[in-house]
Symmetry: T
Subunit: 68 residues, 12 copies
């Protein structure tokens, strides 16, 4: 078996409700063009504010997937 | 139009239920004395423990707002 | 009163549902063998992906407790 | 002579032309309410993009000044 | 409205004259193949030296843009 | 009981004798205008030199206190 | 001569034998679709364990190449 | 001679008087259950505040010792 | 199936010949008392010098394993 | 051909006008005693303030050059 | 007046008694060959252990001085 | 016995074959002008690429030695 190689891309997902949804939003979008997404790591959690509460959670992740 | 200047302050919000609520708790309190809060960034997520579960989520954020 | 000393250990909790549950999962397990867990800090948030959404949240924390 | 104490605040200056102007913009604004600004350190250099070039340089600095 | 997703890529722009030009050089090139570049962040500033002065400024940036 | 919110400020204390005194110098000054200072963290230890020994210890700390 | 622009991508190469082979494995794969790979930097060295020894070295690198 | 292996643990020592005493307090306690402590590294210096001065120095160290 | 919990410990392996051997040396020793070691991450690579060449490679790793 | 070895030194250049001039100021001075300066990397950008504007830009760089 | 240039060197001072003495020990030695040492910054605090207490404090500092 | 003082210098060694050889290459060269090199720490591992494989490993190390 050959040694596998993975590519890592960086995405920012957004959500009005939670950090978890922001991550899943990014993964769902990435899955439209990339097969076999394998793992992710959160690298930054930011957000915009409206009327003194979080308007959009903006979660930046690195996502890894095997290169065929 | 003049170049805008923003100030950034650091706050720790707490919540017994979630990271998201801890952030909103800090923003709500900051909004009492500061207008036009604009964005935030999570810089640390800690917590106190009671009976082997999280008692208080303590989330430290940097919050930016335009200086008039 | 003597000066207290604390030990800090590193754990990764996992959960299919949320970051908060992953942390509590790690604390619950640690509490089986360690008394008086006192505080924690999140040091890494990663996860595995299945069908373009988060399968397991993997949250690594440092946990501190007083050494008797 | 007593030991001096300094306070450090964090500001983001913006400029359409250069990093240097963004820093000076922040210092000029801070000088309206704070006397004797003493030193600064650049902590982040970001910007917004319009038509594939930098629209606003956004330079975040820490600024120190002696507390009377 | 759906939650937006952004992709972040990393580029090194170069310039014989200034840091600002090196950034704009990278943005101009990226704009040839990517629409709606939105924001950037400087992550590294290096350079080559010739005859004891800067020959090329090499500025590495992360650039974000909305994924359609 | 409501969730508490804390503010964190950054100060540099100085002392000719020790790191500990530099920290206490900053805390003493902060206590003149802020009640209930709660915790601190050392973020930088620098100093000026005179005749090949430390002239002033300059210790930068973050100080947290509950916002009423 | 125009100022060059480089793109930087992130890859994880794997190898059962050494860190060096894991890096070369990633470069070999990248070279199938990208011409003129120019430099790399190791950003993380991890691995999986089987029977108390390293099973796969997993070396994450950033790779730079000139954009034509 | 076989290649030595060391284990590294993390401890927080506390002291009302100094950073040095906080470190020694942690080492003294560790020495009750671990033989041949070899080296340490300071990773964090924090403290609690009472009446505008340091109440307890809380110094977190990593401590290494040879595994027999 | 219950959510798994992992513990992470820190070890320094040494070797006169290579970084890879230093890591395997640490894993072999850890395997004597811990079952099911799962993954590791290199956190520091140092060494001692004798006659202007590396005498011992000292590689510090974090090692994770499932807690039963 | 033998494997080259490079030495890296750290310098702070200053300028009243720009970051670029501060870097070139340091390189010019270094070139008086060191031949074949090859590359540099900016590691810190600070400055002194006079009348609410930057008085001196203080840019710290690492500079590499081949050891003959 | 010309723009000043500073050189920064890295030293580890040691002391059996305190962090402060370890720093002064390094400065005293550096002053034998370098004139006008100007400032320093602590970058690492480590030590060796003997009989469960600190044997030598090993404090690494960066020291800056004007190049004539 | 007097408290020892160490100096730390930064070098980049190169090798066409391995990380280990790149480090030893730097140490061998340093040993020509400096006696009693004592320890090193790897701070960066980079390299140049030729025909989709590593051409030169470029390993930057900090090297410490006692100042007489």
């Amino acid at each position: 078996m050959k040694d596998k190689v993975y590519k890592i891309i960086e995405l920012t997902g957004t959500s009005t409700s939670s950090i978890e949804n922001a991550v899943n939003s990014a993964l769902k979008r990435a899955g439209k063009t990339i097969q076999n997404l394998s793992w992710f790591e959160v690298v930054e959690t930011r957000g915009s504010i409206e009327k003194n509460q979080v308007q959009h959670w903006q979660v930046t992740i690195k996502v890894g997937f095997a290169v065929k």
